[in-house]
């Protein structure tokens, strides 16, 4: 559920293996040791998923409500899919095709909901709009005394998730609309199509690959969530994995369910590929006025502005105001301090885990990038791609996979004569959390670092080597200093993702080990709004940082695009 905001947003989800001719010519001969490192990291990253898929532990008992869980998962995916598609596409069209008051601000504000974790928006939404909340209370006192509407349903859950996840579709749809060759649109208009007809018959079909990629990202987030849905009493397959493990420690069943979740994930990737089809809708630039923005004036302009504002308000502004009010109200009262001892401990835990995870991921990312620069064949490049795959694996699968690996390690230790092995399987452990984070966040870290490596001319590497620098000195004196911008971005992205992340921690944490996200989740489950507000604001505040980085990157890309025209 934690929407990790990374540069990967603008890339298709499924890794593409396209041998780049230039890369081949630019590459060096490769060094066996460094190439082996990439392969080993790839194998380690893939290990949790592979163990889950191959895992056959005893005779699994499927939970009785498995059928219902599968149906619920499908319904939730469909609901969120439709919701994000309508919101994302509609808003993208609005800001691309029209100008209206505050449009230039709205373009970027509309990305902001990515900073709102669904597990925070979820409880704010329920506490505000559910039957016992202030809104329905007001309706009852003002209009109908008997009015009662239950929102802790699948529909309510789909609304909340759509509100926090639509920016994925929005960003990709906007890029697709903007990238489309102006001539195509002009041609459609000259053939007699109106603006709307040209949109539905030409632009939308042409944007299909991007929309598919955006939807796939959304689906992955839905599949990985099992915390938000708990507020709404919605039980998906991912929740099944979590509850089967946490309530009864039935390993076999949990593994079985996890492989079912993985099946859903594979279906999403396959679906994305299918939707993208053979179509590679890259268009030749072509000159033309293209999508000239038509100004919306008067009440229509205000309406457009309000539509954008409504999306941002519902997802970010109103929840933040409500959280702030709770926090202020609580601070005024004489209850226990919201940022007291328990919170401080959770914050420390979060910080330690985040820093370690960031260092782990970034060091691995830098080493992989370096190994690729030293030259690599197809195998090593595929291995490097594989290390980014964990990002598309639902948290529940990674969690169970890591636990399963831990069990194998324990078995091995018992076999060599250590009774009880590590003993960490049931109690959970911080190393397990770090391992899971490594699998999940190596992708974004590598993409950020790789972007910096890509800017480095191969001749710089080759010059350094011809001047007698071996791989280590090359890394320390040339590659390291030159990819520093990428390293900085990667550190920030991973650290903040790690603080936001909830499902993996819930599943793997040792008893009594709270992080800020767990702290928020537990207080929210107990409706302690006053206590939960300030920590939740801390998380949202941190999450704004990567969204800011993302916006900056998209803007830079926009400017380049504009410069080319």
């Amino acid at each position: 559920m934690t929407q990790s905001v990374t540069p990967s947003v603008t890339q298709p989800l499924a890794p593409t293996f396209e041998p780049a001719v230039r890369a081949r010519r630019a590459a060096l001969r490769g060094r066996p040791g460094w190439s082996a490192l990439v392969v080993v990291v790839a194998l380690l990253t893939a290990a949790p998923v592979v163990t889950v898929l191959l895992g056959r532990e005893g005779s699994p008992a499927w939970p009785g409500n498995l059928g219902a869980m599968v149906v619920t998962t499908l319904l939730l995916m469909a609901g969120v899919g439709v919701g994000t598609l309508v919101l994302g596409c509609g808003l993208a069209w609005l800001v691309t095709a029209h100008t209206f008051p505050l449009r230039d601000v709205m373009v970027w504000l509309l990305v902001l909901p990515l900073a709102m974790p669904a597990y925070i928006l979820g409880f704010v939404f329920l506490s505000t709009f559910d039957a016992s909340g202030p809104v329905q209370g007001w309706v009852r006192t003002t209009f109908a005394a008997g009015f009662q509407l239950d929102l802790s349903t699948l529909t309510g859950c789909a609304i909340v998730m759509s509100l926090t996840l639509y920016p994925y579709v929005y960003l990709l749809a906007r890029a697709a609309f903007a990238e489309q060759a102006p001539t195509t649109y002009d041609a459609a208009r000259s053939l007699g199509a109106g603006r709307l007809r040209a949109f539905f018959r030409v632009l939308l079909p042409l944007a299909r690959p991007s929309l598919a990629a955006g939807l796939a990202l959304v689906m992955m987030e839905v599949l990985t969530d099992f915390a938000t849905i708990q507020y709404f009493g919605v039980q998906t397959v991912s929740y099944g994995v979590y509850i089967t493990w946490k309530s009864s420690y039935q390993f076999a069943s949990a593994v079985q369910l996890a492989s079912l979740v993985m099946l859903f994930a594979f279906a999403v990737i396959a679906g994305e590929r299918l939707l993208r089809g053979r179509a590679r809708f890259t268009q030749r630039g072509g000159r033309g006025a293209g999508l000239t923005q038509s100004p919306l004036t008067g009440w229509r302009g205000v309406l457009a502005m309000l539509a954008c504002l409504a999306a941002v308000s519902a997802a970010v502004l109103v929840p933040v105001l409500r959280l702030s009010w709770w926090a202020w109200d609580h601070a005024r009262g004489d209850g226990p301090p919201a940022l007291g001892e328990g919170f401080t401990q959770a914050l420390t835990n979060s910080a330690v885990v985040a820093v370690l995870a960031a260092l782990l991921c970034v060091v691995l990312a830098v080493l992989i990038g370096h190994a690729l620069r030293l030259g690599a064949g197809r195998l090593v490049r595929s291995a490097a791609q594989l290390t980014t795959f964990g990002y598309a694996v639902p948290g529940a699968v990674i969690g169970i996979g890591v636990l399963l690996l831990l069990q194998h390690v324990d078995d091995l230790l018992e076999w060599v004569g250590v009774p009880g092995g590590t003993g960490l399987l049931v109690t959970g452990s911080v190393p397990a959390i770090l391992a899971a984070y490594g699998v999940r966040f190596l992708g974004p870290a590598f993409q950020a670092v790789d972007a910096s490596y890509a800017k480095l001319s191969p001749s710089v590497t080759q010059s350094a080597m011809s001047l007698g620098a071996g791989p280590l000195r090359l890394l320390g004196r040339v590659h390291g200093p030159l990819v520093r911008p990428g390293i900085a971005v990667a550190l920030v992205l991973v650290a903040i993702d790690a603080v936001k992340e909830l499902p993996l921690v819930l599943m793997l944490r040792p008893i009594g080990f709270d992080t800020v996200s767990v702290w928020v989740h537990q207080l929210a489950s107990e409706n302690l709004w006053g206590l939960v507000a300030a920590p939740a604001l801390v998380i949202v505040g941190l999450a704004v940082v990567p969204v800011g980085i993302l916006i900056r990157q998209v803007r830079a890309a926009d400017l380049r695009e504009g410069g080319r025209r």
Binding site: P19, V21, R24, L28, R29, R31, S457, S459, V460, Q462, S463, A464, M465, S466, L467, G468, A469, G470, R473, R477, V478, P481, L482
Partner: protein
């Protein structure tokens, strides 16, 4: 191995030797099958202090040759020796950082985060600190840039960056410096000047250098020897004069300067073609063979022939180049010849002209695609290996 440049007196150990070096890459397009041969049993020996230019059309394998020498790629077969050391062979491959090869690139490839002095010092890791500083200022003095030692690469002009790149490559005293199209990123106006400076430094230091270029003029004016490559093979490795005046193959003749080919006949030691007797060919007394003759535009003379009754050569195009005017003439047979004329001379298109060959030249004769120096070359050759590296006495 090809014989080294005639001017070099029997060198001790060649600075660089390529011995039957071959390399092929898997084909890039997924549709086509098979490999692309980028180096086809290359044979080359470069004497210490010699400057060699590698030239050929794009994709001819000249950059691959450079990569193989530098150790950026490993040959499939053959051996490479640098200063007598085998650095690549059937079961030996020395990594680029241990090869004593300097590299200078088109994009200069300076380290943007290091100052000029530290760029130059990068390759001097093994020297004690004091000697390092001395060597840095020594090579910077060499390229006349010592006053810029504290600057960063982005604060330098393109020509200055190129000189820093050369200084950096020279600092560790490499056995051979490889330059990959080092001037093509510079302005046309700067290029000649920077090239002269750079070659001056190489000469001054007695550095062995291999240049890659795609500019014929640059190749002819820069190197002691020009190596013309095509399809991964060496077509000819010779002095600039010989490559231009006595091309070994039809390809070299047309690639290194303009050339037209006319069908000709040798009989009684006389070479005749459609425009008449070209020259005598001493030593061909007994031969009676068909050949092709290579005629360069400056070897073709024109004269107006207004009163001609029967059909004859006719001007079909006139291109004004400033100092000279290029005339294209169609002969009766339909073949075309080009001729340089002084800028004041202009035969209008369509006008009849008389075509002769400038007296005193000894044009190259081709049988098939290969040049023949005398009748002894007419016997069909059986060894294909010697094909690419024919050098004549």
């Amino acid at each position: 191995m090809t014989t080294p440049a005639p001017s070099t007196p029997a060198p001790s150990t060649p600075a660089l030797v390529l011995d039957a070096v071959s390399k092929s890459y898997p084909s890039a397009g997924s549709g086509r099958r098979g490999d692309v041969t980028a180096a086809r049993s290359l044979e080359l020996a470069v004497a210490p202090g010699e400057i060699v230019t590698l030239i050929g059309p794009s994709g001819c394998g000249k950059s691959t040759a450079l990569r193989l020498i530098a150790g950026l790629d490993r040959p499939d077969a053959g051996r490479i020796l640098i200063a007598g050391d085998e650095v690549a062979g059937p079961d030996r491959f020395r990594q680029p950082e241990r090869r004593r090869v300097g590299l200078v690139f088109q994009d200069h490839a300076l380290f943007p985060h290091l100052s000029v002095a530290r760029n130059v010092a990068f390759g001097l890791q093994r020297l004690p600190r004091r000697e390092r500083a001395a060597r840095v200022s020594e090579v910077l003095e060499l390229v006349r840039l010592r006053h810029l030692a504290g600057r960063y690469p982005h604060e330098l002009s393109g020509g200055e960056q190129q000189r820093v790149a050369l200084a950096r490559a020279l600092a560790p005293r490499p056995a051979v410096v490889l330059l990959d199209e080092p001037f093509s990123s510079l302005d046309e106006s700067l290029r000649a000047q920077v090239r002269a400076q750079l070659v001056g430094v190489l000469r001054e230091t007695g550095t062995t250098a291999v240049f890659v270029t795609h500019d014929q003029t640059e190749a002819l004016s820069t190197g002691d020897r020009v190596v013309v490559m095509r399809d991964g093979a060496i077509e000819q490795a010779d002095t600039p004069q010989r490559v231009f005046e006595q091309p070994a193959t039809r390809f070299v003749a047309s690639f290194m300067g303009d050339a037209d080919f006319l069908r000709a006949h040798v009989h009684n030691a006389l070479l005749t073609c459609e425009v008449g007797v070209v020259s005598t060919v001493p030593g061909w007394g007994d031969a009676d063979v068909d050949v092709d003759v290579v005629l360069r535009p400056h070897e073709v003379a024109l004269a107006a022939d207004p009163g001609r009754a029967e059909p004859g050569p006719e001007v079909v195009a006139v291109d004004y180049h400033g100092a000279f005017v290029l005339h294209t003439v169609r002969l009766v047979s339909g073949q075309q010849l080009r001729s340089w004329q002084p800028h004041a001379v202009r035969h209008p298109v369509g006008s009849p002209v008389a075509v002769t060959v400038v007296p005193g030249i000894r044009p190259t004769l081709l049988v098939g695609d290969r040049a023949v120096a005398g009748p002894e070359d007419l016997t069909p050759r059986t060894d294909s290996a010697g094909y690419g590296t024919m050098s004549r006495p």
